[in-house]
């Protein structure tokens, strides 16, 4: 609301201006508050939030094999690593890594590698046991990941993300 349209010729200019500012400010606050529900409705709804954990039974996965589970609509790679893979992952010098991270920080038990199967470049799903480092390879734009899921070559900036998970039993994890 423009207060310049009305001249203050009648003397009560200060009080009048105060009124305009007060009404305008009140209206602006109200309008801003009214916008929030229309934005917040796009955030995850209560039923989506309630489903934000997934349980996985590891006992069925033999060594050297992996499965792809679903957590929050995204693929999660669960790999039972062989001794060779663990060894390779642990042997890499941190200086060789674009996103330096020791293997020990990416796993809770060395034989179980659990990570979100979404390329950190632009969100494609990498292919397992391919690429130049024996880990994963993203076919979209050619990112190579190693046996710890760390980016080694290609456009992706970061290692594959490790989701929050806990071992609720010896062979059972809950993601989320």
């Amino acid at each position: 609301m423009s207060s310049t349209q009305v001249s203050g010729a009648h003397g009560g200019a200060t009080r009048r201006d105060f009124l305009y500012v007060a009404a305008g400010a009140f209206g602006a606050v109200g309008a801003a508050a009214a916008v929030w529900p229309f934005i917040h409705q796009m955030n995850p709804s209560a039923d989506v939030l309630a489903l934000s954990s997934t349980e996985i039974d590891l006992s069925q996965i033999p060594e050297g094999m992996g499965i792809t589970a679903v957590w929050r609509g995204k693929p999660v790679f669960v790999r039972h690593r062989s001794a060779k893979e663990i060894e390779e992952a642990q042997a890499v010098a941190l200086a060789d890594l674009p996103d330096p991270e020791p293997d020990a920080k990416r796993v809770q038990k060395p034989q179980w590698l659990i990570m979100v199967g979404v390329c950190t470049h632009l969100g494609c799903v990498p292919l397992g046991q391919q690429g130049d480092f024996g880990g994963w390879f993203c076919p979209c734009h050619g990112s190579h990941y190693d046996t710890s899921g760390r980016i080694r070559r290609g456009p992706a900036p970061k290692n594959l993300e490790v989701p929050p998970y806990t071992f609720i039993e010896e062979n059972r994890i809950r993601i989320g």
Binding site: M1, Q5, G27, P37, F38, Q41, S45, V48
Partner: protein
């Protein structure tokens, strides 16, 4: 006072695309009669309600599923899981009623003050088209929750078209996309319910173009004689409209927050069941007068014709009203018939909610006869025989002469 600014970016754009000049011209300097009463608030209120319905509707469409197996559940999902979904859905459902309240008042204002008379006939036609589009949109929107009233309302209303001679059944089958109201019907209703509001926006734009061509009418119904009769739209009517909007939103908020289901029907919280018809099918309140006209006629085709005719007759109104005086204020005889007409419309609304028998049926028949007689007989004859009271010389004269009259129109209306 043409549009002026020192902002170079605005100047640069406006020189190439004169949106700022246009907005200035039609929202700020637009010369408006100085004597508009609060009855003139309802046009802008209707515009605001259209925006409210479109915004809430777009949001609801993000969460709604137009499939017979999921529609009802998706509405419950909105009510229970979506953040503020309950608020937005109640806003949309009650907003439809608010929109009709505002538009009905806007129409009756036009009827009383002769807003349809030369040179504003096309402005009036566009308004009637908006009303028809609104009714179609509201009807199809009510089907979407796929409750019992949704389903049976859709069945009954689409069956109206079966009254058309020879091709009626084919038309109904075409509307349904099948042999009963079912998933194809729901899908197309959803598509059209999303489309039509934007058509309404287009017609509203034309409505405004037509309005600004000759300017707003006014309670005296006389043309403006010079600049002393006009004031710029801003700030006078912007602030007056804002005040009216505040009052109206309080009214809206009361329904929205404290009686969100009062204007709806409990049966629509029962999922649609094609095998069981509810004991009493009633449309939403804003269709009740038309529904009463439909049921007042014992003949199927006749009822349908009169129901549609009750709106289409508004297209003839500029020629049916033979009086050259616009404002009902100076028409002592017209005024009486007008208020009886308002009463007849209310009576039709009441009768539409009752079972079609006994007293309600009799009342709906009398009111239907009066409704059409008002347009076809009373208005032409009164225009010829009535002696209007003398019109004031100019808008400024009665404003000055009558002192505070225009300053407190609310009291005059009460």
């Amino acid at each position: 006072m043409a549009f002026q600014t020192n902002n170079r970016i605005i100047k640069w754009i406006d020189y190439r695309l004169p949106v700022f000049s246009f907005a200035h011209h039609s929202l700020i300097e637009y010369p408006t009669p100085k004597n508009l009463s609060y009855w003139w608030n309802f046009g802008s209120l209707a515009g605001i309600m259209l925006v409210v319905q479109i915004v809430t509707g777009i949001v609801l469409a993000m969460h709604y599923t137009p499939h017979v197996d999921h529609a009802f559940a998706s509405v419950e999902h909105i009510m229970r899981n979506v953040n503020y979904g309950w608020l937005i859905r109640y806003m949309h459902a009650n907003g439809a009623s608010m929109f009709f309240i505002v538009v009905f008042i806007h129409i009756f204002r036009g009827l009383y003050y002769g807003s349809y008379k030369s040179p504003r006939e096309v402005l009036w036609f566009l308004g009637v088209i908006i009303l028809l589009l609104m009714m179609a949109t509201a009807f199809m929107g009510y089907v979407l929750p796929w409750g019992q009233m949704s389903f049976w309302g859709a069945t009954v209303i689409t069956n109206l078209f079966s009254a058309v001679p020879y091709v009626g059944d084919s038309i109904v089958t075409l509307l349904w996309g099948g042999f009963s109201v079912d998933n194809p019907t729901l899908n197309r209703f959803f598509s059209l319910h999303y489309l039509l509001p934007f058509v309404i926006v287009g017609v509203v734009a034309l409505h405004l173009v037509a309005l600004h061509q000759h300017g707003s009418g006014n309670p005296l119904g006389i043309d403006r004689k010079g600049p002393q009769d006009s004031i710029p739209f801003h700030p006078y009517y912007t602030v007056k409209d804002l005040f009216g909007l505040g009052v109206f939103f309080i009214f809206f908020a009361f329904w929205l927050f404290y009686a969100p289901n009062a204007l709806g029907h409990p049966d629509n919280y029962i999922p649609a069941n094609p095998l069981v018809t509810p004991a009493h099918i009633v449309p939403e309140w804003y269709f009740l007068p038309f529904y009463a006209i439909l049921r007042a006629v014992p003949d199927k085709l006749g009822g349908v014709v009169l129901m549609f005719g009750s709106i289409l007759i508004l297209f003839l109104l500029p020629w049916l009203d033979t009086s050259r005086v616009r404002s009902g204020r100076f028409r002592p005889i017209f005024k009486q018939f007008f208020w009886v007409f308002v009463l007849a419309c209310l009576a039709l609304g009441w009768a539409g909610a009752q079972p079609p028998e006994g007293l309600p049926l009799a009342i709906s028949r009398v009111a239907t006869v009066y409704y059409f007689a008002y347009f076809l007989v009373i208005l032409p004859l009164v225009g010829w025989f009535e002696r209007p009271r003398p019109l004031p010389a100019s808008i400024s004269e009665p404003v000055l002469g009558a002192g505070k009259m225009a300053a407190q129109p609310a009291r005059e209306k009460a």
